[in-house]
């Protein structure tokens, strides 16, 4: 439901999306281009929230769309591709996180290309200044497991419903709850240990 509301908020019509899928399945490249344009913002943002790196996020989103193009023939014509895209994006993001953890030199670049935060001073003081807050958040998220991080990103940051998160992660609702519970508690502990005040 949250996904649908989100799509409505971004002026995306489900029926139009299904029509685009049908046309793209028939080989209409322009229709596939419109499909990409409709979902790229959501996918880029989700990928970035998972990996906190602009280049990696762009690679993930691009690969997700290319996989969608290969998957078009198997996709049901009347089915919205958004859940499928979410799942592919999450899987690619988790894979990127695993790869990054095998390469410690690949540091997080969560602050790259980020504009200065102009939030009110009282809120910033709880997490230090803006740059410190971003670094603290990125470091704390990096201490979570991939599934915990993905569950928090999809549920708390993207605002997906529990069923949608379960579908994107490819697991049951109970498993998603476990990831969310552990993730939120670990995030609090990570912020505390990193010097922040949760």
């Amino acid at each position: 439901m949250a996904l649908i509301l989100d799509m409505l908020a971004t002026d995306v019509d489900i029926s139009d999306t299904k029509s685009l899928v049908a046309r793209a399945r028939a080989g209409d490249a322009a229709a596939f281009g419109e499909l990409v344009a409709e979902h790229e913002k959501t996918l880029l943002r989700t990928a970035w929230r998972l990996v906190r790196n602009v280049e990696d996020a762009r690679d993930i989103a691009q690969e997700a769309f290319l996989r969608l193009h290969r998957h078009l023939s198997a996709l049901e014509p009347d089915r919205d591709p958004a859940p499928w895209l979410y799942r592919v994006t999450v899987n690619l993001g988790l894979s990127a996180l695993r790869s990054r953890r095998r390469r410690p030199e690949a540091a997080l670049e969560g602050t790259r290309g980020v504009a200065e935060i102009s939030a009110g001073r009282p809120e910033q003081e709880r997490l230090g200044d803006a740059a410190d807050a971003r670094r603290l958040l990125a470091s704390a998220l990096d201490r979570l497991s991939g599934k915990e991080r993905a569950a928090i990103v999809l549920r708390d940051l993207e605002g997906l419903e529990m069923d949608e998160v379960a579908r994107a992660l490819g697991c049951r609702r109970g498993t998603v709850r476990a990831h969310l519970s552990r993730g939120r508690l670990k995030l609090r502990g990570a912020i505390e240990s990193l010097g922040g005040t949760p």
């Binding site: 790229e40 971003r134 708390d156 940051l157 529990m162």
Partner: protein
């Protein structure tokens, strides 16, 4: 139940993810447990800060668009291994391909592949040998002339100046003569029946493939 187990439920409750059957029991516990109440407040505050900070950060990230890259990648994959030239050369290549296809279709239709041209032009001698026998005397001469004991010398050969006769495709007559398809490649002697005004007189012209002819 220990507080650590309540903490897991609190972490779910702050996000609205706790099942309703556990909510009442958790509320009862939090009312009587200051540590769990503090934890719930901290987690709610943390979640609010996380969402706000992340939203502000994500909005500031220049993610751009991947559409161009995706479409370029797809176009690259669709590109043929041997791309056709552009512009006028494309027409030339297409025309050449068309000619090759037409020739191949004709050859396949005939069921044979021409290794060398079987249609050769050749000229035949311009002088046609005259008959070796003397021409038959006319009836009027036989009646008037006296019979001679000597055999008259053969008449000199007549030469006729004619342009070389061009034969084509299996000794067909000269160009310009339309022959029925069945006669285009004669293998048997050909008989031409010529009717005259006199129904009693019919001329048969027999032509064999070697060019010999007989009048009957």
């Amino acid at each position: 139940m220990s507080c650590s187990r309540w903490h897991r439920l609190i972490a779910l409750e702050v996000g609205g993810d706790l099942e309703s059957r556990h909510s009442r029991r958790l509320e009862d516990h939090i009312e009587g447990c200051a540590a769990c109440r503090d934890l719930a407040d901290e987690l709610r505050s943390q979640r609010r800060d996380l969402m706000r900070l992340d939203r502000e950060t994500a909005d500031g990230v220049t993610l751009g668009s991947v559409r161009h890259a995706v479409m370029a990648d797809l176009a690259e994959r669709r590109r043929p291994l041997f791309p056709l030239p552009v512009g006028g050369m494309r027409l030339v290549v297409a025309g050449a391909a068309m000619v090759i296809l037409v020739v191949a279709a004709v050859v396949l239709r005939q069921g044979r592949v021409p290794t060398q041209p079987r249609v050769a032009e050749r000229s035949i001698p311009t002088s046609v040998p005259a008959p070796t026998t003397a021409p038959a005397p006319s009836p009027s001469n036989t009646e008037i002339a006296e019979p001679s004991l000597e055999v008259p010398p053969p008449a000199p050969l007549e030469t006729v100046d004619r342009p070389p006769l061009q034969l084509a495709r299996g000794d067909l007559p000269a160009r310009g003569h339309e022959m029925p398809p069945s006669l285009s490649a004669p293998t048997e002697p050909m008989t031409i029946k010529i009717l005259t005004d006199d129904p009693e007189v019919v001329i048969y012209w027999i032509v064999d493939p070697k060019g010999e002819k007989e009048n009957a």
